[in-house]
């Protein structure tokens, strides 16, 4: 068991280095950093000096090592567009994104799981069919359309909820939270529904199809033949077996939420990392893009690691180490 954990941690570190490497390549070799930082009028001599200053003349490996060292210290360079240290920008915006993602994750998992299980168990009820049709609509609604629709209904027509921003935030150290004010929560409602809707329907459909697969297995058939109650079969056997793939889904879900938060943040002008990234793409702001890549890569790697470790706890088949009982 310990060996498994160590192996996974090493793998994770490996992937992180690969991600950092990709970010580094993008950072330094796409477009000319010097060109991007200075105006057109700077003389060639000054450019050379700047290059030397930035260490762009050094061998590749040295540059990479320096890059890694800086990254480890939280120094990511300066945004081309906004001319501010990227580390500062990230620190400012991270709480906004993380809070949004947390609320949306909770919503999408809670509703997605329960509805998925329900439609898996009660296949024929009209409520199940209704939910299924609704889920198809949910999958066909792009996130930004959902956002616009919600804004139109609740902000423009009814005027009950704000359509942009985080409302009032409270500063706790370097973290700014919207959870402590009514205005903050009000501002959170529309964006979190928007962000969670798409994921919710995906989770629903996957959970349902897993549930249906499980219900068709031989061990469920055998459980029925042994006269176990429906409750024991549905919640004891079927649910537990469905849970194993669902864990992976939950992990991926959070990853997707982070990705899709770019869109939601743009629609609602939510001051998070996602909207920062979108702006960077539009402006070809390479340092911001590379840093975002690394941040997201880090979060993904950690997520994957946690999911894998969780897996081995839940599924006894993965626990290496017990020998097979001999005999026949």
């Amino acid at each position: 068991m310990i060996a498994y954990i160590i192996q996974r941690v090493f793998q994770a570190i490996g992937v992180m280095i690969a991600v950092a490497f990709t970010a580094f390549i993008i950072f330094n070799f796409v477009g000319d950093p010097v060109d991007n930082m200075v105006g057109m009028e700077t003389s060639v001599k000054d450019r050379e000096a700047l290059k030397k200053n930035l260490g762009l003349d050094d061998p590749f490996v040295v540059q990479f090592a320096r890059f890694m060292k800086n990254a480890a210290h939280g120094e990511f360079g300066i945004s081309y567009q906004l001319q501010r240290p990227i580390a500062e920008l990230i620190a400012e915006r991270m709480p906004a994104t993380l809070e949004l993602v947390a609320v949306s994750a909770f919503l999408s998992l809670l509703i997605g799981l329960s509805l998925g299980v329900y439609t898996g168990i009660r296949r024929k009820s009209w409520l199940s069919n209704f939910i299924l049709v609704g889920s198809l609509a949910g999958v066909s609604l792009p996130t930004f359309v959902t956002g616009i629709l919600l804004i139109y209904i609740f902000a423009v027509s009814l005027g009950v909820l704000p359509s942009f921003g985080r409302g009032t935030v409270v500063q706790l150290g370097w973290w700014s939270t919207g959870f402590l004010t009514v205005a903050g929560w009000k501002a959170m409602i529309l964006p979190s529904i928007t962000l969670s809707l798409y994921q919710m329907t995906i989770i629903l459909r996957i959970v349902r199809s897993e549930m249906l697969e499980v219900m068709r297995t031989d061990y469920i058939k055998f459980a029925r033949a042994r006269g176990l109650t429906d409750r024991a079969i549905n919640f004891g056997h079927a649910l537990k077996n469905t849970l194993v793939p669902v864990i992976t889904i939950a992990g991926l879900n959070i990853g997707s939420l982070i990705a899709f938060s770019c869109i939601t943040e743009t629609v609602f002008q939510w001051p998070g990392m996602g909207s920062l990234f979108i702006q960077a793409v539009g402006f070809a702001d390479i340092p911001v893009m590379a840093t975002y890549l690394m941040m997201v890569g880090l979060i993904f790697v950690i997520l994957n690691l946690v999911v894998d470790l969780f897996y081995s706890v839940v599924d006894p088949r993965l626990r290496v180490g017990r020998s097979v009982m001999a005999g026949n």
């Binding site: 055998f222 029925r224 033949a225 176990l228 005999g327």
Partner: protein, 320 residues
């Protein structure tokens, strides 16, 4: 009075091309403590009959007609909850593949105790002890330690023993064993069959042994029913059916089994193959392949009738 009575059972599958009849008006009985073998080719309807008896026929299949009685009490029209109580407690079931029959995420102890407590009124400790005793009875060493092991930690033969333990744990009066040895190595098959035989003899449990393997039947059954195209072709005591088969299909089956010490150069072979459900012939289902076919065979379907031996056969040859 027989323990299990099946009368005029008919199982249908409605499809868009019409209604397919998978089991067509079969009747048989199983006495207390007896082992009835049900033998036939794949698709003859054996497993469906077993599924119908315990009320687990999968849709769109449905029981279109017939009466099933257990100990004199009718069970084919019971509501779901009452049938559930019968399953496991009065009728136990064993399926073909022991690997997929056991839930991989629960220890065998958990699965045993769960079944025991569903049907029997025991305390947790008593249930656990009962489970340990069962594991020992089916011949698995160190039962107490095994309680906390998972199914994937056992070999195929051991798993089937656990499945047998699960089927027996509430002391049912009847066990329906659907191809219990087909998925196992030949060397293990004999052991499992011997185990099943011994346990059922000791507990006085009747067995409906469904298989396509005539050798297993020969060793284990008291009586045997030969099924063909959803109908019973012949039914009778095991010795009579093997040594003195009456129905031409059974004769063909017996001729196709190689016997140690026999002189024949070639095994007899029945020409053709069992018809598909969509192409069941008129009259007797076997008539296209039968060497003794008469005009009547192509028009009227024969019921089981007495022959000059101890078994009954559904064949016009034996009409008085």
């Amino acid at each position: 009075m027989p323990l299990l009575e099946v009368e005029n059972l008919r199982i249908e599958f409605p499809t868009r091309r019409g209604i397919l009849v998978a089991v067509d008006d079969i009747s048989f009985g199983i006495d207390e403590g007896e082992v009835l073998g049900v033998v036939g080719e794949s698709g003859a309807g054996k497993s469906l009959t077993g599924a119908a008896i315990i009320g687990l026929l999968e849709p769109p299949g449905r029981v279109a007609a017939g009466v099933i009685r257990l100990g004199g009490r009718r069970i084919d029209d019971l509501p779901y909850e009452e049938m559930r109580r019968i399953r496991g407690k009065e009728i136990g079931t064993i399926f073909q593949d022991p690997l997929t029959s056991l839930n991989p995420l629960y220890t065998i102890g958990q699965q045993l105790v769960e079944t025991v407590t569903t049907h029997m009124d025991l305390t947790a400790a008593q249930a656990r002890q009962h489970a340990i005793d069962l594991i020992g009875e089916v011949g698995i060493p160190t039962p107490a330690r095994c309680m906390d092991c998972y199914p994937h930690e056992f070999s195929g033969g051991m798993r089937q023993r656990i499945v047998i333990a699960l089927a027996l744990c509430a002391n049912p009066r009847l066990i329906i064993a659907d191809e219990p040895t087909t998925a196992l190595d030949v060397s293990i098959q004999a052991q499992i069959i011997a185990l099943l035989k011994r346990l059922c003899r000791e507990h006085g449990t009747s067995v409906m042994l469904i298989t396509h393997d005539m050798g297993v039947i020969a060793e284990t059954a008291d009586r045997v029913a030969v099924m063909y195209v959803g109908r019973i072709a012949e039914i009778g005591p095991i010795r009579d059916v093997i040594k003195n088969a009456k129905h031409p299909y059974t004769v063909g089956l017996m001729g196709a089994i190689p016997l140690v010490g026999c002189d024949a150069d070639r095994l007899t072979q029945i020409d053709g193959s069992m018809p598909r459900l969509t192409e069941i012939p008129e009259g007797c289902g076997f008539n296209p392949r039968c060497g003794h076919v008469m005009p009547r065979c192509r028009e009227e379907r024969p019921d089981l009738m007495a022959t000059n031996g101890a078994s009954l056969a559904a064949c016009w040859l034996y009409e008085k």
